[in-house]
Subunit: 478 residues, 2 copies
């Protein structure tokens, strides 16, 4: 008997790659899809018909999540062209799976009416999610088209901030009573005929929706139909509050290997549930944002954003960087007299500054990661500072010593070598200390420690490095 092979992960990866390749290598294809080629021109391009047929077949075959990924991997024009091929009834699902960066591109050709039509193919939780985040303000119109009960729910979710559990919870839950038998539960489920996605458990509640326990699907299957729900339910499940931090909830999901979990209000009433697929998204987004922030990028820029948008999203960091570089330059300028006496200082000073920036960024990366992983508590502050100072001292003495020796040998000037060593040790100590203080201070003031830390530490180690080195040179060498 032949096994399955039609749907392997690798095959789908290949199909996506092929689609992207076709879209990005055949310029005529994109133009044709966007209606920019006349019939005569289309005739002239030999492989065009074949490519159009293959692209059409791939789009028809690939499921919405793969189409969303493909759209994300295309430049703007090709993205528009491919979007036109996505069928109406799949568009809602594709929008849902695509990341926020590409939404603007996808919906800018659609009328509000088209968008609302696309949304209607989704279930209520998905509609809420999209309407909340889509760039155009469609909330009012969608709200008007909903029944009163759903409207109240949408309002409830929208009231939570984006990084709270309340904003990512789902309403699709199945509730059962504690006093019925598992057989009754199973009959009830068959009557329902379907379950929300990622349902691994049902919620056991009282008449007024107070959560009493959880009933896993596997518990229903493993136990006799005569047993009562209250006898086999889990009475100490992990529960969340809508005000809980979403990233912390993700940690708890990872820690406890959860698939779904209840969200309850302050009196214990079941409001909805968190599911692993939202959690996985939170994890990807969290780490993505941290990395972008440390690299000086905004969260909005994607790799295919047009030049104008990229310039706009990056200019702030560049301006800040330029200001700090300018300050460092003014520090050097203050020592113009020293440098004119001993030009070698000009070539040595970037070493002191560079090594400090490198060490500072190592420390910051480590602290930002440890903060994200909840490995740092206020009580550890002193320990961390002392540890980083220790590492910096050892590295400073070793590498500063080597560099001092090399300087002595190159310029045949022992005092210059000594200044080099001393400056490197001091700047590494500054870098280590600030590498701990900056992110911890940002946390203390309620800010994201990843944003701006890297720019700040580089500014300090540059300015500090130049000041320390040239200052020591002025004192000891002139």
């Amino acid at each position: 008997m032949p096994g399955l092979s039609k749907n392997s992960a690798r095959l789908r990866d290949q199909e996506r790659a092929r689609l992207i390749w076709l879209m990005t290598t055949d310029k005529a294809l994109t133009s044709s899809l966007l209606g920019k080629l006349t019939l005569a021109e289309q005739y002239d391009v030999g492989t065009l018909a074949d490519d159009i047929a293959e692209v059409g077949a791939l789009v028809a075959h690939l499921p919405p999540p793969d189409l969303a990924d493909t759209l994300e991997a295309l430049p703007s024009e090709e993205r528009h062209a491919l979007w036109r091929l996505v069928q109406d009834h799949e568009r809602g699902q594709v929008l849902l799976e695509a990341s926020e960066n590409v939404w603007e591109d996808l919906i800018d050709e659609m009328s509000d009416h088209d968008i609302l039509d696309a949304l209607r193919t989704l279930d209520i939780d998905e509609q809420i999610y999209l309407v909340q985040h889509l760039p155009r303000n469609l909330t009012g119109r969608l709200l008007a088209s909903l029944p009163a009960g759903e409207r109240a729910r949408v309002r409830q979710v929208m009231h939570y901030e984006k990084n709270r559990v309340g904003a990512i919870m789902e309403f699709g839950v199945i509730m059962v009573r504690p006093d019925v038998t598992l057989g009754t539960v199973q009959r009830y489920l068959r009557r329902l005929g379907k379950m929300p996605e990622n349902t691994d458990k049902l919620f056991v509640t009282s008449r007024d929706k107070i959560l009493l326990g959880e009933l896993e699907l596997k518990t229903i299957l493993l136990n006799s139909a005569q047993r009562r729900v209250s006898e086999v339910m889990e009475t100490q499940p992990m529960i969340f509050s809508p005000e809980d931090d979403a990233e912390k909830a993700a940690r708890t999901f990872e820690r406890d290997n959860l698939i779904s979990a209840a969200v309850v209000d302050s009196v214990g009433k079941l409001m909805g549930r968190l599911t692993i697929d939202e959690i996985v998204d939170v994890v990807y987004e969290e780490t993505d944002n941290d990395m972008r922030a440390l690299g000086g990028l905004s969260a909005e820029e994607d790799v295919y954003a047009p030049v104008s948008k990229a310039v706009k999203t990056r200019w702030a960091w560049l301006a800040i960087n330029l200001c700090t570089a300018f300050i460092a330059s003014r520090v050097i300028d203050g020592f113009e007299h020293t440098i004119s006496q001993l030009v070698a200082l000009a070539s040595l000073m970037p070493i002191v500054a560079g090594i400090g920036g490198n060490t500072g960024n190592q420390t910051i990366t480590m602290i930002v990661r440890a903060l994200a992983l909840q490995h740092i508590q206020p009580g550890n502050f002193t320990f961390l500072i002392m540890r980083e100072l220790g590492v910096a001292l050892v590295n400073g003495l070793v590498w500063g010593g080597i560099m001092g020796g090399v300087t002595w040998w190159l310029y045949d000037d022992m005092a210059l070598g000594g200044v080099m060593t001393l400056a490197m040790v001091l700047n590494l100590l500054v870098a280590a200390m600030m590498g701990v203080i900056i992110p911890m201070g940002m946390i203390r003031f309620g800010r994201d420690p990843a944003v701006g830390s890297s720019v700040l530490i580089t500014a300090i180690t540059d300015t500090g490095g130049f000041f320390i080195f040239l200052g020591l040179a002025t004192v000891f060498l002139l």
Copy 2:
């Protein structure tokens, strides 16, 4: 009826934080647990008895995953002290949940015998995982203690590289035949009495284990007991090969919202399954490694590693950084004559270098992220280069223009301002081009684009910046 409140995520977070706080603020507590205090000394510390009692109660109450997280958040000595309080029968589970960084600390006081005892409380998949990764080589001894069938399995898993699906797959699967009824399946499950964790589906196989389809637990519950498995099973499930890349598999899990998926060999025979909890670990680890690599940190260093270990894991990056800084310094040295004529150049040159490094790192961060998200295909290379060059040109003209104006005004020297502008534009173009070429080239040569990219781009923009700026100054200003 009162709701549940004993097990909220927030409460557990608080308990962990409290435990860490107690361990890190009361030095006497750690010493006492490690047996370093005499009875008389213990008597002298007023709150010691209370703290010991509270720590004991928290350790007894917190489940293994929380204990593992707490251990990760403690310095080495406190880690040892707390580990002594963890009960024998929980040690295996705690080891399993703890990250690789802390294993060495935890097992260095345990004999091989103790470790094997701790492992025996785990199921076979968990034992394999730990034995594969624990720093001490216990593999041979564990293998000897296993029945022959399991031994073959362990050998099979260990044969795959760490980043392959084969290395993270589990063997615990439930198989059913296609021709039985759902009622029969349910009776079979009741007889089994339990399911492996994260079981959301059963695997439908032929007699020789060829995968024919998948049967979700919810399908069993939603359909009548008389239906046959073959009528209701999913015949096009997503399947993986043991050779597939684990990070790509994680993307597929996220894309398709999977909880578990089959791993089959080349002829379609079921080998095991991937589960979402392993996948979530892969996601955390992947992004963690990328961030550490971009920040110049090795994967092994945790925030509580002792100074000696931190020095060892960081020295390579520092050495490389020092070498590149040294080369840049030699470039400046080559223009000593130019600088001695016009000392202002010494204070302006770090601006040119710094702005290039900043831009280059922005580009690299974006490309590394896009590569991880599979948003870049070979076909897009030209597009990306052109786009980054465009961004660099605009930024170079705007900010280089501003900086040139400021220079002109400061030094009352129009030619110097012109050189400044030109140098900034050129260095930004170099940064943008290399920011694309470096990570793409690393991928081409099968290397991780996150490792070393940042150091390399900084080296190029520093050296390049100094060379361009001082070179232009030599040509136009002397």
